[in-house]
Point group: C2
Chain length 463, copies 2
């Protein structure tokens, strides 16, 4: 027993997934998340057959896994006699997820077969946007009247524990109007005197709660900040509508990160795994931003056209164009990534923009001076050793490049750090300030800075 068996290897799952019968036989020994992994590699018809053949309790656990892809398609292929009890037994947040994935026909067909409570829950939860607290909450939570004793609460949990999403946070309600009074943890219940009233256990503070329309990112931030296992979603009168649990929040954090990384890479967010998204969908997601950036970048052609005379008189200037504009883009991309992240973590607020600008100003000058010095030395060395001939005015050319680098890097740092503020101010996601977006913005200005410096330094000699 010297190795950890742990979860099965991807290779094993892959082998199992090769054969429907083998997989079905192995399922009893696998965890639901692993079964999901294996099913994701089967054709959807085979996956549906496996789901239909699983023992009921295991099928419910499996379908409660958000990792299971194509749930909608699988349900579309299940017999109604199998599908309906499964939907009714799923936890309500996953029911809603499933309903969002079902195709139009299946949605209508199955809805009318469900029992009334399930229909009501679906109607309620589907009324909230999918990225809001209401859209990801579940309605199965433990609510107890404030008049109960600790002993009564324990007995209640031992009876209902199996059908609730979490039993570790207990919502203590006013017995008259059902408003939320306090939240008690099962830990507090366990260590308390059984004869005490449960309402007296809390810390006496108002519970941390959110309204249903609060964004899921804010929900994740609160759960993480206050180390909660679940957060209640309440209406204006403090009636508990549902709860969001910590494992939903982890899934949320992971999808939000994926979205942000993809946006930062300069494309629309892709909500499917890379290997599964269709070719057309992928090209569409990428082409949109790529074309927008291309149209923006066309301004460089216009800017260059403006300086065509200068280029033809001093072709040597053209040699450094990619070097200079890319340095601006790189410094801008650094500044943007710093600020986007600081905003996401709420380290920086909208009103801090000038404090950020005051930091980026000296940072940009310093970084620009460093690159400018390297650039200057590069040209002087190459000329000195005879590796390249930049003409008789090589020193002035080197000076132009060095000064332009200071200006461009400074502009890049400022533009890159301010863009997320501007985007947020006008109501966009600051994460849309992607590296390519900033680079495009800086390229055009970089050219103007470069040629303006050249006109100043080289007038009367090369220009």
């Amino acid at each position: 027993m010297t190795t950890l068996p742990g979860p099965p290897s991807p290779e094993l799952l892959y082998l199992l997934a090769g054969d429907e019968e083998d997989l079905l036989a192995a399922c009893e020994n696998l965890r639901p998340a692993d079964i999901a992994d294996a099913l994701n590699q089967l054709p959807v018809e085979a996956a549906a057959r496996v789901v239909g053949a699983l023992p009921f309790h295991l099928a419910v656990q499996l379908l409660d896994e958000p990792e299971l892809d194509r749930r909608g398609e699988i349900f579309g292929r299940l017999d109604e006699k199998v599908a309906v009890p499964l939907i009714e037994a799923m936890s309500s947040d996953q029911k809603v997820e499933l309903y969002r994935e079902l195709d139009e026909n299946d949605r209508i067909r199955l809805f009318h077969l469900l029992d009334a409570p399930t229909r009501d829950v679906l109607r309620l939860l589907l009324s909230y946007p999918p990225t809001s607290a209401g859209g990801i909450m579940t309605t199965e939570f433990v609510g107890v009247p404030a008049t109960w004793t600790v002993e009564q609460v324990k007995r209640h949990i031992s009876e209902v524990g199996n059908v609730k999403e979490t039993v570790y946070a207990i919502y203590v309600l006013n017995p008259r109007d059902q408003r939320l009074e306090t939240v008690v943890s099962l830990r507090e219940v366990m260590v308390a005197n059984p004869a005490h009233r449960v309402a007296a256990l809390g810390d006496g503070r108002r519970p941390v709660a959110v309204k249903p329309l609060v964004d899921r990112e804010e929900v994740a931030r609160l759960i993480s900040k206050y180390n909660l296992l679940a957060i209640p979603v309440v209406d204006d009168a403090w009636h508990v509508l549902g709860i969001v649990t910590v494992d939903d929040v982890i899934d949320t954090l992971i999808s939000e990160t994926t979205e942000d990384v993809q946006k930062f890479g300069g494309m629309a967010a892709v909500d499917e795994p890379y290997m599964q998204i269709g070719f057309r969908a992928m090209v569409r997601k990428r082409a949109g931003w790529l074309c927008a950036l291309f149209l923006g970048e066309m301004l460089t052609a216009a800017a260059m056209g403006h300086f065509e005379n200068e280029i033809s008189r001093a072709v040597v200037l053209a040699l450094f164009i990619p070097l200079i504009i890319s340095s601006g883009g790189n410094s801008g991309s650094q500044a943007t990534s710093l600020i986007i992240r600081a905003m996401a973590l709420q380290e920086v607020q909208l009103r801090d923009w000038w404090r950020v600008a005051l930091r980026e100003l000296p940072a940009g000058v310093t970084l620009g001076a460093i690159l400018g010095t390297i650039g200057l030395l590069r040209i002087l060395l190459w000329q000195g050793f005879g590796w390249y001939n930049y003409g008789s005015h090589y020193f002035l050319v080197a000076e132009t490049v060095a000064l332009a680098l200071v200006g461009v890097v400074l502009f890049g740092s400022l533009a890159g750090s301010m863009l997320p503020f501007i985007l947020r101010r006008v109501g966009f996601d600051p994460a849309s300030a992607s590296a390519p977006f900033v680079a495009t913005l800086v390229d055009v200005t970089g050219l103007v800075i470069y040629f303006s410096v050249a006109l100043l330094v080289l007038r009367g000699t090369l220009l």
Copy 2:
């Protein structure tokens, strides 16, 4: 009662932080995470005075918050009579965090004053790297002998519940050799028959566990995949060394995301909030990568030097240089961000590189063809309407630009998608394949592609 009071506003905390006395008076009504927020805005001497004056239980809760900045400096300023009991009462994972933050002198001075068990825990935990499971685990967990009944377990939890990091996962150990047999949730204990043996409650599967040197990102992935509240860290013989809880994992996910975003922006990871990191440290973190990229980008000057003759004969070619190389960079940055994320989520493995290449090949050609068409139309339109004169061979110029775009976008997509695989293959973090890194790589090649196409299309006319 129509609004949610929820947590205090940043403005309130800011006001409180303005005055030490006010803050201290308000602390009893604030949650530890909010006190941390307020203290983060005070000078470190004042923060240390507040910590020293807080009631002991509240000070411990506050110091257990990883959100509290400058914990090391605060402890350096506390009286030893205050500091030592606080350290002993903190949870072990936070003790270790604190010890990593203390300066050399304080570390040695305080260590000898601590009690023996605390010293042992620190010695053990500090022996693991800070980003490993062992480095973030805590040693306070509930372990019970497999021979106990459910009733005994419940009684045990009601006695020790307050001093354990989590009571919701119960580790059932072999009473003879203390090896981990199974993991039972408190929920299972609550709903079980009190007379049954606790060892019989589990699902019969080997528990999911990790070794201490496993990376914290993998720990986060397992907790998230199997919806765990905690994961045990075990040695080769399955003795439980400690546990990592879900709230540590959320903090881990957030710091890893920050690291990845910053790396992707083309800089070394900054582990302090943007507003708090010193100016020199920030410039140093940014200058390193910026200089490396600059040196790489210098190859463009060499490439351009190689084509200086062509540029001087056909200056019109220079106009489209920024447009073409930036399109390559943008498509590369898209592809990289897609693949880095897919790798982080384990949707794509190292061995899948050729499947990715086979997807990126047609995607690159399609995207290149779209941009090429726009570029072609742009030049023909401008020439047609007389907005710019690209010379008598304008159609050949347009053709050159369009063909070069197909080549450059294709190369960008391929290079951008393959770079993370290459980096991982040689043992680097794929997230180091930043947008600026890819852009630099693609810029040099883009120039070569552009001028090679130009030589083919324009030979005998412009060149």
